[in-house]
Amino acid sequence: MSSIMSSMELWVWPSIAMVIFLGVFVGVAIRVLRATKTECDHNASIPLFDGTEQNQFASSGTHPALAPSQKGEAR
């Protein structure tokens, strides 16, 4: 194994690394650029609804886990 590795050119390693990095970055970029505002708003608001605030929703009969999150806050 050591002999095989030693015969390889070193430039191969950073080049492959760069391709992998760019692939990951492009994939993540596509994900975030095409996410909907609705979805982001919901996800960003998850910490604000942990179940302890349920009483405030009792009158509406809506459980906070299923309730709409705050509008217009997250990007």
Binding site: A17, L33, N43, G51, H63
Partner: protein, 779 residues
């Protein structure tokens, strides 16, 4: 506005909403919070003590257990793994339950985790001051404790965390959970691979790696311990507790996704920047530098996301000390993560490395980012966990300001001192000679800065005492019986039906584009990962493992990375025993053994260090700091007598030295009987000991060399009766350092009597050049 998938998802087998009731386990969070405060006081007190010792060596009271070399690892372990560790556990246990809308998977595992971790911390406190250490920075704990860490971290904590994810009632995993996942899997990987060692005794082991490869593994671990123990879990903390305290959602969830993946993917590459200009292959350190510079962007992305979360709430920041803690903590994070990439640039690192500049950088991050984020979280949690008002808001506010002033008084003088130190080391006079040839000149110049640092550290410590007082008083006023609200949340349906994938908008384009778009449309692939813990965890592992392998495989397998040098021989059994004392006393905390190919260094210390010189060093001892001079070529520079007197009291030979006294080494007997076992283990690791491995041979060889050195010592007018004392082994080791490279290739493995004269070293220089050029390839 609920998640479109969730809105259409039938909940329960009958399609109706089925609510489940449960309680959050806050008892475990209370325990971790109290442990955080306790260990914060202990760890920072030890830090304060060793800061005083740098300015006033006598502050160690002449005790071997309280010397700088032994207490510094205790300080770093206490603040990193005890203080910050318990803080991140408190954060994870509190937030994970609420983000998953589920109680922790197992109360038993929670408690095993808590008590197991505290037992590990106590074990560290009971071993490090006694010199029981592996001698690798931030990974000093010996193998039984290392095994315990693996069990507690992954077996108790990891299983409990992932079990909670498995039983969660919130479909989407919030971004804080991603950071926790990355923390758990990466720390496991780092800890296991860096700690691979062969036990010699219950309290001693040798790293399976040697020299360059050990250094690479250590700083792959060391840097990423900062990344995945002090950064990612605290970013998770920020993404949860900052929105909670500000009562506003995070500024940009999109940015948090980019932040996570780019940080996790890039951080793991950056370790080699700790080894610029050392014997590490240049390609590896350059790669580390490039990724470190790129790392600036995701780091600042996170900082910006944190600070902008407070948009529209800055009026509250003005009156809320908790938000101020967060703002200052995130700001320090931003400063530290700007400075880190800057220090990783080779030309900057040439000046900063080994100086106090690095210490200032570390403390701006640790005191500002980790400290203040933890304090903000604790102050926010105390009233909620103990169900009473915080005892004193005024004291909390005072803590904030005294802590801030303390940080500034701590780091600013060390920045100044560090740069002064670096410039003095490389200063030349008009005739081309070192302007400050006596190393101690560069030490005494820093004394005023050391004292200001003590004041800064004292102020910060007083702030921590205020936190402790506030915590104790709040706990004393706690509710008699805790109200444990029953939470109800709908269970997740056992089977999840994905909403239809949005249709492509690329109609009419090339087939390849259409195919790609069917995969990537709306980033659907990632959206699915975000609700699948196993898949997400595997991908996080792939991200960190890929990066690691691209650096580790070439370093370990390409032979030209570590060219061998024919004249480099294993340490003699006595020198090996001395090396163990060097490690036990923590000498690496103040002395490096790595001369960089920089003119000022070769002028001061001699020929630069070669990778092939360290092939038998299990573990490597390159160090990361020069409170004292480099020792890579110490062999033959001073007489045996000088060394023994220097250990007895350094100030007898150099009035301005700040080195602790090591008189105990002149009195304590050397364990000759244990040497055989040590040589055997080294042989097992591939060190070619030959005849010495035979039973009893190593002990006999050690006794012969010790006897000869002791006689030589007496001839020089030195102390009598040193032949069976620890000091003789340590002196034998020091006299060997850096000498092999100047010996002919066919020289015997060790001199019969340790060399004593400076002339020996100078004479060797003539052999050195030819020897190296013949045996070592270009770096």
């Amino acid at each position: 506005m609920s998640h479109p998938a969730q809105a259409t998802q039938p909940i329960g087998e009958d399609g109706a909403t089925r609510l489940e009731s449960f309680k959050y386990d806050d008892a475990i969070v209370r325990k971790f919070v109290l442990a955080t405060v306790l260990w914060g006081v202990v760890g920072m007190l030890v830090g304060l003590i060793i800061a005083v010792q740098l300015a006033l060596p006598a502050a160690n009271l002449g005790l071997e257990w309280t010397s700088f070399g032994r207490l510094r690892p205790l300080h770093t372990n206490a603040v990193i793994f005890a203080f910050a560790g318990n803080a991140l556990f408190a954060a994870i246990y509190y937030s994970t339950q609420r983000l998953c809308k589920a109680r922790m998977f197992s109360d038993v595992l929670s408690n095993l985790h808590f008590w197991g971790w505290q037992a590990i911390i106590v074990s560290a406190a009971l071993t490090l001051p006694f010199g029981i250490t592996q001698g690798k920075e931030y990974a000093e704990l010996e193998w039984p404790i290392d095994l315990a860490i693996a069990v507690v971290w992954l077996g108790f904590f990891g299983v409990n965390f992932f079990g909670t994810l498995a039983v969660r009632r919130e479909r989407h995993m919030y971004v804080a959970l991603w950071f926790y996942i990355a923390t758990i899997v990466t720390v496991t990987m780092l800890h296991v691979f860096n700690s691979l060692a062969i036990p010699v005794t219950l309290t001693k082991s040798y790293s399976v790696y040697a020299g360059v490869q050990d250094a690479f593994m250590q700083w792959w671990y060391g840097h990423n311990a900062v990344a995945f123990f002090l950064t990612t879990p605290f970013l998770g903390l920020m993404y949860y507790f900052l929105p909670k305290a500000a009562e506003k959602p995070v500024y940009s969830y999109r940015l948090s996704i980019v932040h996570f993946w780019s940080l996790v993917f890039m951080y793991i590459w950056a370790g080699p920047h700790h080894l610029h200009y050392t014997a590490l292959p240049a390609w590896a350190s350059t790669l580390g530098m490039l990724f470190s510079v790129m790392l600036w962007m995701p780091s600042w992305g996170g900082m910006i996301n944190g600070l902008l979360t407070l948009r529209g709430a800055w009026n509250r920041v003005a009156v809320d000390p908790i938000l101020k803690f967060y703002v200052l903590g995130i700001t320090f994070y931003g400063m530290a993560t700007f400075e880190g990439p800057m220090l990783s640039i080779k030309s900057v690192n040439a000046l900063s490395h080994y100086t106090d500049w690095t210490i200032a950088h570390v403390h701006s991050g640790a005191l500002g980012w980790n400290g203040f984020m933890s304090f903000g979280m604790i102050y926010w949690l105390l009233p909620r966990l103990f169900q009473t008002n915080l005892w004193s808001k005024k004291l909390m506010s005072t803590h904030l300001w005294i802590g801030t002033i303390g940080i500034l008084l701590y780091v600013i003088p060390i920045y100044t001192g560090g740069i002064t130190q670096g410039l003095m080391w490389r200063a030349f006079d008009a005739s081309g000679r070192l302007a400050f040839p006596d190393f101690v000149e560069t030490v005494t110049a820093l004394m005023p800065f050391c004292w200001i640092r003590v004041v800064g550290g004292l102020l910060y410590f007083v702030g921590v005492l205020m936190l402790a007082l506030n915590t104790v008083m709040t706990v004393l006023n706690r509710a008699k019986v805790y109200d444990e609200p029953i939470i109800t949340a709908p269970a997740l349906a056992p089977r999840y039906i994905d909403p239809p994938v949005p249709e492509t908008q690329l109609a009419g384009n090339l087939g390849v584009a259409l195919a790609a778009d069917s995969v990537f449309v709306s980033g659907w692939f990632h959206r699915v990962w975000e609700r699948k813990p196993l898949k997400f965890t595997i991908l996080a592992i792939v991200a960190v493992v890929t990066a690691s392998l691209f650096e580790i495989i070439p370093t370990f397998l390409i032979s030209s990375n570590v060219p061998t040098i024919a004249s480099v021989k294993p340490y003699t059994p006595l020198e090996l025993a001395g090396r163990e004392i060097y490690i036990a006393e923590g000498c690496y905390n103040c002395h490096s053994q790595m001369i960089r190919p920089i003119w000022a260094e070769t002028k001061r210390y001699g020929e630069y260090s070669k990778p092939g010189e360290f092939v038998y060093d299990h573990p490597f001892q390159w160090g990361s700091r020069r409170i004292g001079p480099d020792l890579a070529r110490e062999g033959g520079r001073q007489s045996n007598d000088w060394h023994v007197r220097h250990f007895k009291n350094p100030r007898d030979l150099n009035a301005n030295s700040i080195m602790p006294t090591y008189e105990h080494l002149l009195n304590q007997p050397l364990d000759f009987e244990g040497i055989q076992r040590r040589v055997d283990v080294m042989a097992m690791l591939g060190v070619p000991y030959g005849e010495n491995v035979k039973s009893g041979k190593a002990i006999e060889a050690a006794r012969v060399q010790a006897k000869q050195m002791a006689e030589d010592l007496v001839k020089q007018g030195g102390f009598e009766g040193m032949g069976d004392k620890k000091v003789i082994a340590l002196v034998a080791y020091l006299q060997r350092l850096g000498k092999d490279i100047s010996q002919p290739a066919d020289a015997p493995a060790a001199p019969a009597v340790a060399p004593t004269a400076r002339e020996t070293f100078k004479a060797g220089d003539k052999v050195l050049s030819a020897n190296v050029s013949a045996k070592e390839g270009a770096r």
